[in-house]
């Protein structure tokens, strides 16, 4: 069996098209994970014990079960209780919630690194808790952990083929469909692999630059 470049060029546009779905799922999932993760981390850092415990239990539960099961749970159980959402929304939700729990850990490290004196200065100036977080603490806690968050962006990106289990036609799923039709898997799957590699390298570079820019701003 030979590697046919003509065939590769033929399938490339189809897979490139499907890569948009992959990117959409990744960016959507990551946006959700980044925001929800921050919320979880902040809630867990509050002194109000019931919230802290509830959030910790939630994070532990999500981190201790496979993403695949969470995805199936959302996809098959939600309609059962009358909540019907498109497969794509379901995929983004599963990715986002799952990774928010990892992002929460990253944000926690960032929050822990803000010196206690910053909180005390904020209290002595009479800032509300909300202003203390948004104006004083988070601007110091988040930039240093952006590279670590970026790693989860790339990890999540590489996990998007899991979405083919809920019949979302992303890159991998498109490659398998092509393969099933033509009985040739090598070229489409190679294209998928190379695209994953290219996207990962570019985002890793982008994340590093963004992190450096964020932390370099105030000298």
């Amino acid at each position: 069996m030979t590697f046919e470049w003509d065939y590769l060029m033929e399938v490339l546009p189809l897979i490139a098209q499907a890569s948009l779905v992959t990117i959409e799922a990744t960016l959507g999932g990551f946006a959700l994970a980044a925001v929800l993760g921050l919320l979880l981390a902040v809630l867990r850092s509050l002194r109000f014990a019931p919230v802290r415990v509830a959030v910790s239990v939630f994070i532990e539960a999500v981190r201790s079960t496979p993403l695949l099961i969470q995805l199936f749970a959302l996809y098959y159980i939600l309609p059962g209780i009358g909540i019907i959402i498109p497969a794509m929304a379901c995929g983004i939700l599963a990715l986002g919630v799952h990774y928010s729990c990892y992002c929460a850990e990253v944000y926690r490290a960032g929050l822990d690194n803000v010196p206690r004196g910053q909180w005390e200065a904020a209290t002595s100036l009479n800032f509300t808790t909300y202003d203390t977080f948004t104006r004083i603490v988070l601007p110091q806690a988040v930039p240093p952990v952006v590279p670590a968050l970026g790693n989860y962006l790339i990890t999540m990106f590489k996990e998007t083929p899991i979405l083919l289990t809920i019949s979302i036609i992303e890159m991998m799923s498109r490659a398998l469909i092509i393969g099933k039709d033509t009985f040739r898997y090598t070229e489409p799957v190679t294209v998928v692999g190379v695209l994953f590699l290219l996207f990962s390298l570019t985002s890793a570079w982008g994340v590093r630059r963004f992190g450096a820019w964020l932390t370099g701003r105030w000298g």
């Binding site: 002595s124 100036l125 509300t128 105030w218």
Partner: protein, 258 residues
């Protein structure tokens, strides 16, 4: 005159350690009080309790005749103070820390304007205008756009003083504000505090190891030992004729070291 700060049998514990032991302390409006004493005697704790950075374990602190930890309920009885009430009391007090605690992501101007905008609700223009005036007053007119990392320790501490003043407190707390500074810049910070003391109506409570400065600055010096005031009085009484044996020991050690 009614005291503006009144500690009434205030007790503070950390676990088994009693840091303040039924402390009584009155400070009159406009009075400048220095607190001196050996390490661990509870000096910082006094300021931190006033600033509500720590919880009180016993007794009451009154600020402006209002209890800090309790507030009157509609029924007339006293209940535990809520956050809104605490914030009102806190608004009367400013604190300057040993390690400055400036916000590293804001310029000197931003450090001084942020709280007036967010907390006092001033417009951006008004807050930055006042912040610039205060920075000029502490001698930093040419540094307003510098970030803390671009300032020396003495300059950072002067920004921190301006930042506290921007909230228009009635009471200023200083906790060893020159201890983290190089000797050659201590003078510039003390100079700012000295001019505050003479030109503004501020009640000032200052923990310090600068005995010479305490002498000229203070109306009264309190010598702390084991969570209590062992001796207090006018600077010349305490520094020149201490009656308490611990005060004598402490002063011998301090004056010998410098």
């Amino acid at each position: 005159m009614e005291p503006i700060i009144k500690f009434d049998k205030v007790t503070k514990r950390y676990g088994d350690l009693t840091v303040l032991d039924r402390l009584d302390l009155d400070v009159a409006p406009n009075e400048k009080v220095s607190i001196i004493g050996p390490s661990g005697s509870g000096k910082t704790t006094v300021l931190r309790l006033l600033m509500t950075l720590e919880k009180i374990d016993g007794g009451v602190i009154h600020v402006d005749n209002e209890p800090m930890t309790h507030m009157p309920s509609p029924g007339g009885t006293l209940v535990a103070a809520n956050e809104a009430y605490l914030r009102r009391v806190r608004g009367k007090i400013g604190m300057v820390f040993q390690h400055f605690n400036l916000f590293p992501h804001m310029t000197a101007l931003g450090n001084c304007a942020e709280a007036p905008i967010r907390v006092l609700g001033l417009s951006k223009d008004e807050a930055t205008g006042r912040a610039a005036e205060l920075l000029e007053m502490v001698g930093l007119a040419d540094k307003i756009n510098h970030y803390p990392s671009q300032l020396s320790g003495g300059q950072q501490q002067r920004v921190a003083i301006a930042r506290s003043l921007a909230m228009r407190p009635k009471i200023m707390l200083f906790d060893e504000v020159t201890s983290a500074l190089d000797p050659e810049v201590i003078g510039e910070v003390l100079e700012v505090i000295r001019s505050l003391a003479t030109e503004h109506n501020l009640t000032m409570l200052m923990v310090t190891h600068q005995i010479g400065f305490a002498r000229e600055f203070s109306d009264r010096i309190c010598f702390f030992s084991d969570g209590r005031i062992a001796e207090q009085g006018a600077p010349c009484e305490i520094l020149d004729n201490p009656r308490n044996e611990r005060t004598q020991q402490f002063l011998r050690a301090v004056l010998h070291a410098t």
